[in-house]
């Protein structure tokens, strides 16, 4: 379960000055049950990435209470936070692939951090690469891959360790329509297997095509929550 109660976020060096605008998120409250799916929609700069960062423990709120997978985020040790992060798969808006590693090693990273044995790593990574259609490109470095291929590697890395919660920030941004729908197919498949999913997007076409409960955000405020 993901639960926000009156959550406020203020960046230490806010991009926009002024009293009312200083907070990136203001009074956010919502709840996503285990196995749920949510679109997170809103115009650029609304605070979608900021909200996702709070979910995947990359920022701390200045106020409010956040509960992720049954754990209250403010109350855990650094070690437990790291262990909790391993249960959350994240597709970053800018992918964040490691340039010095091959596609295979990038995808293997979460499993190796969790100290899985190499046989298991090999089995799962090859399977997931086949799933995103990149099994032939496993020795390619990120700079040898197209934007769409990099995005699929980023998605493979996010799901390879079978996270309980998947968070994707504009995951279709670099994909053509065909690839985007293919990707959504993968994500909904995971969701049907029990993973809780939050996908941020400003692609209204995609939202129409895959109807699901929505969290709408504007100027840091939640304007609609299913």
């Amino acid at each position: 379960m993901v639960k926000f109660e009156d959550v406020w976020l203020r960046y230490r060096h806010p991009a926009r000055q002024g009293d009312a605008e200083a907070e990136a998120l203001r009074g956010i409250s919502f709840e996503i049950p285990d196995g749920g799916f949510r679109w997170l929609t809103g115009p650029s700069g609304a605070g979608k990435t900021s909200l996702l960062k709070l979910i995947y423990l990359a920022e701390h709120p200045v106020r409010g209470r956040i509960e992720i997978l049954g754990t209250e985020a403010a109350k855990i040790s650094r070690r437990d936070a790291a262990l909790l992060r391993r249960r959350i798969g994240v597709v970053y808006q800018d992918f964040r692939l490691l340039p010095q590693l091959s596609a295979y090693d990038n995808v293997a990273l979460p499993m190796r951090l969790a100290r899985r044995n190499e046989t298991q790593v090999h089995a799962d990574v090859t399977e997931i690469l086949r799933w995103v259609g990149l099994e032939a490109r496993l020795n390619a470095r990120p700079d040898e891959l197209s934007g769409g291929e990099q995005q699929r590697i980023a998605i493979a890395r996010a799901v390879v360790a079978r996270p309980k919660l998947l968070v994707a920030d504009e995951p279709t941004g670099n994909l053509d329509d065909d690839q985007a729908f293919r990707l959504m197919h993968l994500i909904t498949a995971l969701n049907q297997l029990g993973t809780t999913v939050v996908v941020a997007t400003h692609n209204t076409e995609l939202v129409k095509r895959y109807p699901a409960p929505r969290l709408d955000i504007e100027h840091g405020r939640l304007t609609h929550a299913d």
Binding site: Y56, A58, R79, A82, R86, Q100, D105, L113
Partner: protein
């Protein structure tokens, strides 16, 4: 055809980020200095021990009015004192210094012919003390035979040599501490530069759930390797220099050791291999602290 993955174990790319040749070179220089400081401290202690022995053992006995009759009234004082010294088991080779050598000894102060000044020169006997305890009772015993007899030992010099040795060892300890601190600073700077170069990688694997300890251990392992190698190189480079210094010092260390110009103090031969180990320890600890401190700033 199936494509087989080629695995890269160094996934932080630390071989490049900490591939800097400056760190091992600086650590080698520190280790070289540490080796010299240790050798200096050990050598001064060894030489001082010898000199101290010699100096305490040297006895100079001054007998005023050497020709006046001694306490027994028969023999002259100088002869009586000499005979008494010869009879003592703890005194070796007592020898009367000829009036010429006494004159020669004091001529810088009193001119070529002190006798011409009408001064009564004392008789002087040199001897070696072989007793285990200091010859404190010797003076009073001789003074009974011949009033005013003075016994001088090298104790004053021995004390000065001891003080000098202590300060030399203090300096060496200070050098070692400073060298260790500089080495730690060099490691901290190299680690921070490695973190800065791998900032994106480190923050990513942190976000993927790497423990602080895991990340710190990877940096520390690499740093430990570099500092160990650097310090080992420094210690090896110091060896010929130390052997050369040992050869120079050999004549002062006593005749038994002149023959072998390679002899280094055994304590040094034990301490030198310790240098890379200590350097690696400093590297490991500093890297751990630096990385963990840096990670604490991440959310």
């Amino acid at each position: 055809m199936r494509t087989e993955p080629r695995h890269r174990a160094d996934y932080l790319g630390l071989r490049e980020a900490l591939g800097d040749r400056l760190l091992p070179v600086l650590v080698a220089a520190m280790s070289f200095l540490a080796a010299l400081a240790m050798a200096g401290a050990l050598a001064s202690a060894t030489l001082a021990a010898r000199w101290q022995q010699d100096a305490t053992a040297q006895l100079t006995i001054q007998v005023p009015q050497p020709q006046a009759p001694s306490a027994d009234g028969k023999t002259p004082r100088l002869a009586a004192v000499l005979a008494a010294l010869q009879a003592m088991p703890d005194v070796a080779s007592p020898q009367e210094m000829s009036p010429q050598s006494v004159s020669a000894l004091i001529s810088p102060w009193l001119g070529a012919d002190p006798a011409a000044l009408g001064l009564a020169l004392p008789g002087v006997i040199s001897a070696h003390w072989t007793g285990a305890t200091p010859p404190d009772a010797l003076g009073p015993a001789l003074a009974k035979l011949s009033p005013g007899t003075l016994v001088q030992t090298g104790a004053l010099w021995a004390g000065r040599v001891a003080a000098l040795t202590t300060s030399l060892q203090g300096c060496a300890a200070a050098v070692l501490i400073i060298v260790a601190l500089v080495a730690a600073a060099v490691v901290a700077v190299a680690t921070r530069s490695g973190l800065a170069q791998r900032r994106e990688t480190v923050t990513l694997i942190y976000a993927l759930g790497a423990l602080d300890g895991d990340i710190a251990a990877r940096f520390a392992a690499r740093i430990t390797l570099l500092t160990f190698a650097g310090a080992a190189a420094g210690a090896v480079l110091a060896l010929p220099v130390l052997a050369w210094l040992a050869a120079l010092a050999a004549p002062f260390a006593g005749p038994a050791q002149i023959a072998d110009s390679y002899n280094l103090p055994p304590a040094l031969l034990i301490a030198l291999p310790g240098l890379p180990v200590v350097a690696a320890g400093i590297g490991w600890g500093t890297a751990q602290l630096t990385v963990r401190g840096w990670l604490r700033n991440l959310p």
